[in-house]
């Protein structure tokens, strides 16, 4: 069973603010789901390789050639914040 503090910690890592009511609701749900995962302990995976892709394609590369996006300005203007000098203006980090 996860504790409320553990869920608060995960939420912090995931950068989601949770209210006390959210925590109350989510802790038992997430705990129940994690408990269910224990079923995998029944499976012997000794020596079994992991599947990270199913197509046979790995580390696909392309020539390092610059292709003009042509929609740069439109993409930057998707921001909900102010745009200055083709950049998104956000609060100070430091």
């Amino acid at each position: 069973m996860l504790t409320q503090d553990e869920v608060r910690h995960i939420a912090k890592l995931a950068k989601i603010n949770l209210t006390d009511a959210d925590i109350e609701r989510l802790v038992p749900q997430i705990s129940g789901i994690l408990d269910y995962f224990a079923v995998l302990e029944e499976v012997d995976t000794e020596g079994v390789a992991e599947t990270s892709q199913v197509t046979g394609l790995e580390s696909v590369t392309r020539p390092d050639v610059i292709i003009a996006s042509e929609i740069e300005e439109a993409l930057i203007n998707c921001t909900p914040h102010q745009v200055e000098a083709n950049s998104v203006k956000i609060p100070k980090i430091m």
Partner: protein, 476 residues
């Protein structure tokens, strides 16, 4: 027969032979949508002005004898995770509710280049996470067959759009069953393509190693027509291998005589509706009538698929959805510093199901838990995939139920774990990256549609569509 009830194939033929204009076809669908969408809630955004413009352009092409493809002038809809240039694309989420992308997803660009007409964007569970469209901020899409029932999810809007005769075909996505289950609930045909068969570029990702973009339509033949246009390698999606795109419509009529089809015994789980089992039996009889041999096979790791999937998918979700931070696009909640913008935007932007999955995924990937959860799940995924590999050494296709029940009622009491476990019959195909077609075969006593799925090995969509088409032909 009313025009909107016709298949894509029939309407395409009528248009290309000059019996109907694209504008007539498009206006007929718009009329149907206007008369019934208030009740069903299929559309998130309609694009009727654009549709009429595109239809008129298709009519001009007809007059100039410069038609682009069999889909030219044909009205379609897109699940609202497919980015459309200058048309709002929301993922049915607060965090993107006013997002207007400045580019087209490859799948829509290909349809557009083929002359297809866009009627609008249809409902989905938030970021495709759900089984009923009930996690959408726009509310549930009701089942056209029985509006007290859900249309399924997450591509519930697409399935309902096809079943309600709101379009000839709809693009959906299937990460763990999200095309096949709503097709089963609404009684239409749903094609889940092999991983990598259709470019996912510009389609909002959920779980990148499992996501696939496919289509829903009235028939397998219609799905084949759409797939011929949307399939293929895309340099913008590095997970699309260089596999040639066959003429799917040309192999539909192949006889099934001599084919061997397996029924996985593990798919008849405890609690599955008897009526669904009967429909699988009835399908088996049709296959045998058509000369196929039907045998029982075993996929022993089936039941572990859910746990593996609900570790892998949330892990990938937690990484993929980190991009929604209120900075570059979507809505933002102002804060006194950057951290507050992030945490409050995500608090108010995401619904409960999305938050649950992000939190589970973050936990599974966090220090100390990675081996026990993610690595273990990736190994179990291998075993699930090997089950299929072994089965396909013996059989050409698998016949299986799609979901333990028919469409359930709108407003069913929430239970996240139950919703996950119900995906048991669709998830393994995504873990293995294989393809499948959901075909409407029967009805329950209460009149609700029941579908079955035909699963084939990766990139054998031609075979899956061939079998589906033959079944549909013998039913009609």
């Amino acid at each position: 027969m009313s025009l909107v009830k016709k298949s894509l194939k029939e309407l395409s033929t009528a248009f290309q032979e000059g019996e109907l204009t694209s504008r007539q076809i498009t206006d007929a669908f718009i009329k149907e949508i206007e008369s019934r969408d208030k009740e069903l809630n299929v559309f998130v955004t309609t694009t009727f002005d654009l549709a009429r413009e595109m239809a008129d352009a298709a009519d001009s092409r007809f007059n100039n004898k410069s038609l682009l493809s069999p889909l030219d002038g044909m009205p379609v809809t897109l699940k609202d995770v497919v980015c459309t240039d200058s048309v709002r694309t929301t993922a049915a989420s607060n965090i993107l509710k006013d997002f207007v992308p400045p580019y087209n997803a490859t799948v829509w660009q290909k349809l557009k280049d083929a002359g297809a007409v866009l009627l609008g964007k249809v409902n989905t569970d938030e970021f495709t996470m759900g089984v009923s469209t009930e996690t959408s901020i726009f509310g549930v899409t009701k089942n056209p067959v029985d509006p007290t029932k859900v249309s399924g999810g997450s591509s519930g809007g697409s399935a309902a759009a096809v079943a309600a005769n709101f379009c000839v075909a709809s693009i959906g996505t299937d990460t763990g069953g999200s095309i096949r289950q709503p097709a089963h609930f609404c009684g239409c045909t749903g094609l889940k393509v092999s991983y990598g068969r259709v470019s996912r570029w510009g389609t909002m990702p959920m779980a990148s190693s499992l996501d696939s973009v496919g289509c829903l339509a009235k028939t397998a033949e219609d799905c084949a027509m759409v797939l011929e246009v949307i399939a293929g390698q895309d340099e913008k999606d590095s997970t699309t291998p260089e596999v040639s795109v066959p003429k799917y419509t040309e192999t539909l009529d192949q006889p099934l005589k001599g084919l061997k089809i397996g029924i996985p015994k593990e798919y008849f789980i405890e609690g599955i509706d008897e009526e669904i089992v009967s429909v699988v039996d009835a399908t088996k009889a049709i296959l045998e009538n058509l000369g196929a041999k039907v045998v029982e096979v075993s996929l022993p790791h089936t039941k572990y698929g859910i746990a593996a999937y609900y570790i892998i998918a949330p892990s990938e979700i937690s990484a993929n959805l980190s991009r929604y931070d209120g900075i570059r696009y979507g809505s933002a909640v102002e804060g006194k510093n950057l951290e507050e913008i992030y945490t409050q935007t995500r608090e108010h932007g995401f619904g409960d199901e999305v938050k649950r999955r992000i939190l589970i995924g973050t936990y599974a990937l966090s220090a100390g838990y990675y081996d026990a959860y993610y690595r273990k799940a990736q190994k179990v995924r291998t075993l699930v995939k090997q089950d299929f590999d072994k089965a396909f050494e013996e059989v050409d296709a698998l016949l299986a139920p799609i979901f333990p029940s028919t469409a359930f009622e709108v407003g069913r009491a929430p239970d996240p774990l139950r919703d996950y476990i119900e995906d048991v019959l669709t998830i393994p195909a995504n873990l293995a990256g294989i393809c499948g077609v959901a075909v409407p075969v029967g009805k329950s006593k209460s009149g609700l549609p029941i579908g079955v799925q035909f699963l084939c090995k990766a990139f054998a969509e031609d075979r899956a569509l061939n079998i589906a088409h033959q079944i549909e032909q013998s039913l009609s």
